[in-house]
Symmetry: C2
Subunit: 237 residues, 2 copies
DNA sequence: AATTACACGTGATTC
DNA sequence: TGAATCACGTGTAAT
């Protein structure tokens, strides 16, 4: 990519030479009639006042503008400082590098938490679906499927029907519910030797079940409470 | 705080009116002798070329400068976009609000992981010390102390002596080591009724033990390996 | 001397 | 209309 091609301005009209001829720098405004020029007194005064009025207006506007912008910058930098304090390595003073480290840190934390969530039987707030191939103690191929989603009365029948349609047999199921959420950890295997046992078909089928919303069959079902409950119900079959 | 007092500029000299009278705006440089003024031809040409040289130099410098700044901006904004994509709620388009959400998210993730680490017997890479009051099954007050730090040969004796000095009795201890790190989870209670059992003293004493570095008694002790090992040694007594 | 990074003020744009 | 946000070019300091 060339340097010039990297220029992407905002979608804006081709600068229609803004009506008022752009005042320059506005910190030290030029007064065209300010040096005792040969004008009538009232004219000069009038011009002065008019100019001063314009100046005052423009200066006030510009002042508030720049101050607002300063406040915005201050907010952003405060947030960056807070982020820097939260990070383990305080060393990098550079702003862009700081953000890069924040990205790495967020990714790392997300990785850790998702790893924890996968190995935990307690359902989380976000939907999850993992399908892993494992080795049975007899060397038989076993698939461990973990499904975490909103609980509903016909989730288990749906799962059973889905697995039956795929000609799969569930060896063990750990079902844990918490506050209207449910996490099913299924250990499934092929019904016989000639069965569709690939990841993709299983994942897709289970995802379809997971994504089914709760409004079906029982049309006017009461909305279940979603607040955190300290009661943990766990049944293993 | 007044508005004017909020202005804090960088530590800079009071603007010594930079030697060359500051060229203005540099995008459309004013040519003082550019309008066919009554000068000699060679003088005019010389002036023109000199001016043009200056212009070319300055313009090139300014160009590279502005382009460098543009690249910097682009880097930062790319990082911000990446952060935005990592966040759960993509809604907030505002830049400052985005950073605020990043802060919240990082805090939340840190909270979750630290919570996990506390309840896990496996030592982590960072030193940790938690002292929690718990209830015994007989209603007796029990204190659960978790200490995660670099392992050393006299850590356990130190802990024992410290607890003895505080007249505390350890009911149970779970000691888990991994790759030169150790995590001790102690369940302790008062030796008798008149014992110093408050959090602060226990926390301080244990922190002193935890912060003791490994160079003592065995002066020239060999530096233990710090790489991750997949062997997990756990003994509960 | 050239590069890098930051804060600033400003024009444009959106609501 | 103001208020708020953004990208931009620039001045300035540090390396």
């Amino acid at each position: 990519m060339t340097l010039s091609s990297s220029r992407r301005r905002r979608s804006r009209q081709p600068a229609p030479a803004s009506s008022a001829e752009g005042r320059q720098s506005l910190g030290q405004v030029v007064h065209p009639g300010g040096g005792g020029a040969p004008f009538g007194l009232h004219a000069e005064l009038q011009k002065m006042t008019a100019q001063e009025i314009m100046d005052a207006k423009a200066l006030a506007a510009s002042k508030s503008h720049s101050e607002a912008e300063r406040r915005r910058r201050e907010r952003i930098n405060n947030h960056l400082a807070k982020l820097r304090s939260l990070l383990p390595s305080t060393t990098k003073t550079d702003k862009a590098s700081l953000l890069a480290e924040v990205i790495q840190h967020v990714k790392e934390l997300k990785r850790q938490t998702s790893l924890i969530a996968e190995s935990s039987p307690v359902p989380t707030e976000s939907d999850e679906l993992t399908v892993d191939k494992e080795a049975d103690e007899e060397g038989r191929a076993v698939i461990k499927a973990s499904i975490c989603c909103e609980d509903r009365s016909d989730l288990l029948p749906d799962l059973i029907n889905t697995l039956k349609a795929l000609r799969l047999r569930t060896l063990k199921a750990e079902i844990t519910t918490l506050g209207g959420r449910v996490k099913n950890v299924l250990f499934i295997t092929g019904d016989d030797e000639s069965t569709t046992c690939d990841h993709h078909s299983i994942q897709d089928a289970l995802k379809a079940v997971m994504d089914k919303t709760a409004e079906d069959s029982a049309s006017g079902s009461v909305k279940r409470q979603r607040t955190n409950i300290n009661i943990l119900q766990h049944r293993s079959l």
